[in-house]
């Protein structure tokens, strides 16, 4: 089915909230989904996987334990939707040379939108690396390196995020804004989670509702 970019943003935001993320993280998950689609990453399926793990409440960490300077999941591997915003928050430090090496983290491709934010904030490319390879991200969202490998990684022991001053400028086509074609079954997975944010009608709410009467002729 054809969906607009804004629908993807809204559906993922609601699904993320339904899955138990904070409002701010949910907003960021929506924006991340939007960026992934805009820049041609077919990553909505791993996104749904991660959200369902959050919803199930086990096997994925929703808090970061950062004792001794290391970022680890408080229980289990890190969620990229929890880790990503924290990486973006540290863009200033990354620009100043800090290297962040958290892990393990599931579906690291979902970190890409947050690394784009880092690159934009730093006004220079940023790198995300894992034990066997890496990807460079430019402020305009262009990506170079082993993108295909990254998309297929379900979990990595660590990722390293740092500023990459040595990279040249890379052009990126503007997003076409034509929306995306999404498998209806996949869309349903987001809608099921989004549904957890809705309030069923009651007699009182129906009566008050938006405030209107039943029939509105004049």
């Amino acid at each position: 089915m054809h969906v607009s970019i804004n629908e993807i943003d809204a559906a993922v935001r609601k699904a993320a909230r339904g899955a138990g993320l904070s409002w701010g993280q949910a907003e960021e998950a929506g924006k991340a989904a939007r960026k992934l689609v805009e820049h041609g990453f077919e990553a909505l399926r791993p996104l749904a996987d991660v959200l369902e793990s959050h919803s199930a409440g086990g096997g994925i960490a929703s808090r970061i334990d950062h004792d001794r300077g290391n970022w680890r999941g408080s229980h289990g591997p890190l969620s990229p939707l929890v880790l990503g915003p924290v990486i973006a928050d540290h863009a200033g430090e990354i620009r100043n040379g800090r290297v962040i090496t958290p892990g393990p983290v599931v579906h690291p491709v979902l970190l890409i939108p947050f690394v784009i934010t880092v690159a934009r904030t730093c006004q220079r490319p940023a790198k995300i690396e894992w034990p066997s390879s890496g990807v460079v991200v430019w402020p305009n969202g262009a990506c170079g390196g082993d993108v295909d490998h990254l998309i297929h990684l379900t979990i990595v022991a660590t990722v390293t995020c740092r500023s990459a001053e040595e990279c040249d400028v890379r052009n990126s086509p503007d997003p076409a804004w034509l929306g995306a074609c999404v498998d209806p079954d996949l869309w349903q997975r987001f809608e099921r989670l989004a549904h957890l944010t809705y309030v069923p009608a009651s007699d009182l709410s129906r009566r008050r509702g938006a405030g209107g009467g039943e029939i509105d002729n004049d």
């Binding site: 804004n6 928050d89 009182l204």
Partner: protein, 592 residues
């Protein structure tokens, strides 16, 4: 009667240039360019009671759109009209300009009166519409015919920009058709009472249901302004409503029927019925809200900063007050609160007129003097109407601000993790003082909760202590959340960073983002408690609708409102032959 044929050209082509003044001309006329500007304080402006008293201005989107369509010589026509004797069928309205074409594809339906409801839960309407990007081919129309009548239940492509539907005002529609059928014109009192033949019950854009994303069209000059595509669709819908009434009169009595007198036709706008669905918008679009308010406040400040007022500006201002007095006297609603406010407005306008006789506008900084005088003497409704009136004569000074009202919200989205917590605390104290005055241990301060209804996927307002669902509350709780954040910050050093704090407290991410945005853009926050027992959601609706350019606010409760759009505006066939932009507060014509 002159029947509209299906290929009729609605554009007359002749362009009359409106009067234009440069700053040099201003100076020659006795007005001086503004000095440094002082804007009204956000703590003063961004209160619900004030936002809920706003009126349309020169910067309202309908007016901005029509000024642009005229300046850019857009042409309108109606390439298709296939509506039968029952009023069912398809019509297409087309506008062309800037090398582009847009088509409003209209589906007219013969609706069972029992199904006519303005509520968003309705599933059939008198007419349904889609604004298509380009010429609408037969294939496109066939595809839209399978979807547009279903509205939310249909699916659309990036080639569709706006989706809408409308219901008749049955009484007025039948009155107009009946008169036209007899070769007579409608009763002015009937038209004044309602003001429209149809009212829209939803106007969707921004990528809903697969429609075009706003970003796809935002770099086109005609759609650079907020909601400009929606405003275009509504303007064309208005033409359709009149054509449909004339068509029905003609098919019922082809020999005797006549068309609406154009002067009378101007009195017909498009109605709109708006409920809670629109209410969270201003809360959820902080940067946009800031840009809208900033533009309006800057326009006011520019006029207040003028050192003198020329005779022709003062004369125009007096004329607008006279018009305003007349139109306020015609603004009648059943709602008691709004009725009292209209009565106060009428008294305010009379007082204002009297005050002008004292020569207040002859001195230095006349507008500032007048506006300062008004603060202690006029009602809030009157004060905000004065904003509309004061900037009205100064199009040359303020109209450019319309170009500042769109927003790239993406740029403000990332949280500044480097910010020190001391700075964050300062922002909280500076911009959220209102929250510290609220005692959240009092049940009334949290009596309401905003939620999304499972039934219609629309925002709703619940009673926290009477209804289930508060555990799924939407975050329109900024006052309460800021207090909670402030409590959580206790014990943290001011030199620590936001990034460190949010790693420990991710539940405050949305609050911190809002505070930082407000720090950069002080008009970005509504400085009131949106979950208080006394909150009036129509204040949020009224504010947004005033920026659209809506008039005749008619509250039906504290949470939904009827309005009129484009009343007195030129129709597509008058765009290039009528006075530009002199319709929102129209001259009192002989028909009044």
């Amino acid at each position: 009667m002159v029947s509209l044929n299906s290929e009729q050209d609605l554009g007359l082509g002749a362009v009359m240039a409106g009067p234009l003044h440069s700053h040099a001309a201003l100076e020659a006329a006795g007005d001086r360019p503004p000095e440094a500007l002082t804007l009204r304080e956000p703590d003063y402006v961004m209160r619900l009671a004030r936002l809920g008293s706003f009126h349309q201005t020169r910067l309202s989107f309908m007016r901005v759109l029509l000024r642009r369509l005229r300046a850019e010589k857009w042409q309108a026509d109606r390439p298709r009209w296939r509506v039968d004797a029952k009023g069912e069928g398809i019509a297409v309205y087309r506008v062309r300009g800037n090398g582009r074409t847009y088509s409003l594809v209209c589906f007219a339906h013969d609706l069972d009166p029992a199904k006519r409801s303005d509520r968003v839960i309705a599933d059939e309407w008198d007419a349904t519409f889609a604004l298509h990007d380009g010429d609408a081919s037969d294939e496109t129309i066939e595809r839209l015919a399978r979807n547009v009548p279903l509205q939310e239940a249909g699916r659309y492509t990036a080639q569709e920009i706006v989706l809408s539907r409308a219901n008749k005002s049955v009484r007025l529609f039948e009155h107009v058709v009946s008169r036209l059928r007899q070769g007579a014109q409608p009763d002015p009192a009937e038209i004044e009472r309602v003001g429209y033949l149809m009212r829209t019950t939803a106007v969707y854009g921004g990528g809903k249901f697969g429609l075009s994303d706003r970003e796809r069209i935002a770099n086109r000059p005609e759609f650079a302004g907020p909601f400009s595509a929606e405003m275009l669709a509504i303007w064309l819908i208005r033409a359709f409503t009149v054509d449909l009434a004339e068509h029905m009169a003609h098919v019922q009595a082809p020999v005797t029927a006549t068309r609406l007198d154009k002067a009378i036709r101007r009195h017909l706008g498009v109605g709109n019925s708006t409920g809670l669905g629109m209410a969270p918008f201003l809360f959820n679009h902080q940067v946009l809200l800031d840009h809208w308010i900033s533009a309006r406040e800057t326009a006011l400040a520019r006029v207040r900063a003028l050192r003198s007022a020329s005779a022709d500006r003062v004369s125009a201002f007096r004329d607008y007050i006279a018009r305003a007095r007349y139109h306020a006297s015609q603004w009648r609603v059943a709602d008691e609160i709004q009725s009292a406010r209209i009565a106060a407005l009428e008294a305010d306008l009379a007082l204002l007129e009297d005050h002008l006789a004292t020569g207040v506008l002859d001195g230095t900084r006349p507008w500032d003097t007048l506006f300062t005088w008004a603060q202690d003497r006029l009602s809030v409704e009157g004060q905000e109407f004065l904003v509309t009136l004061m900037i009205e004569p100064y199009g040359d000074l303020v109209d450019d601000l319309a170009n500042t009202m769109a927003a790239d919200e993406e740029r403000d989205f990332p949280i500044d993790g480097d910010m020190r917590l001391g700075t964050l605390r300062d922002l909280v104290r500076k911009h959220y003082a209102f929250a510290f005055g609220i005692d959240f241990s009092r049940p009334a301060t949290q009596a309401r909760f905003w939620y999304v209804s499972e039934e219609k996927l629309e925002p709703r307002l619940g009673e926290r202590y009477e209804e289930p669902g508060a555990d799924r509350e939407q975050p329109l709780t900024i006052a309460r959340d800021v207090i909670a954040l402030n409590d959580a910050l206790v014990g943290w050093e001011g030199k620590e960073t936001v990034a460190t704090f949010l790693m420990a407290f991710p539940e405050f991410r949305h609050v911190v983002r809002r505070i930082q945005t407000t720090g950069r853009r002080p008009y970005a926050e509504i400085r009131d408690n949106l979950i208080d027992a006394a909150v009036r959601p129509i204040d949020l609706l009224r504010c947004k609708l005033s920026f659209f350019g809506a008039t005749r606010f008619d509250p039906k409760s504290d949470r939904w409102v009827r309005i009129v759009m484009y009343q007195h505006a030129p129709f597509p066939d008058e765009l290039h032959s009528s006075e530009p932009d002199d319709w929102a507060l129209p001259p009192i014509d002989e028909w009044h």
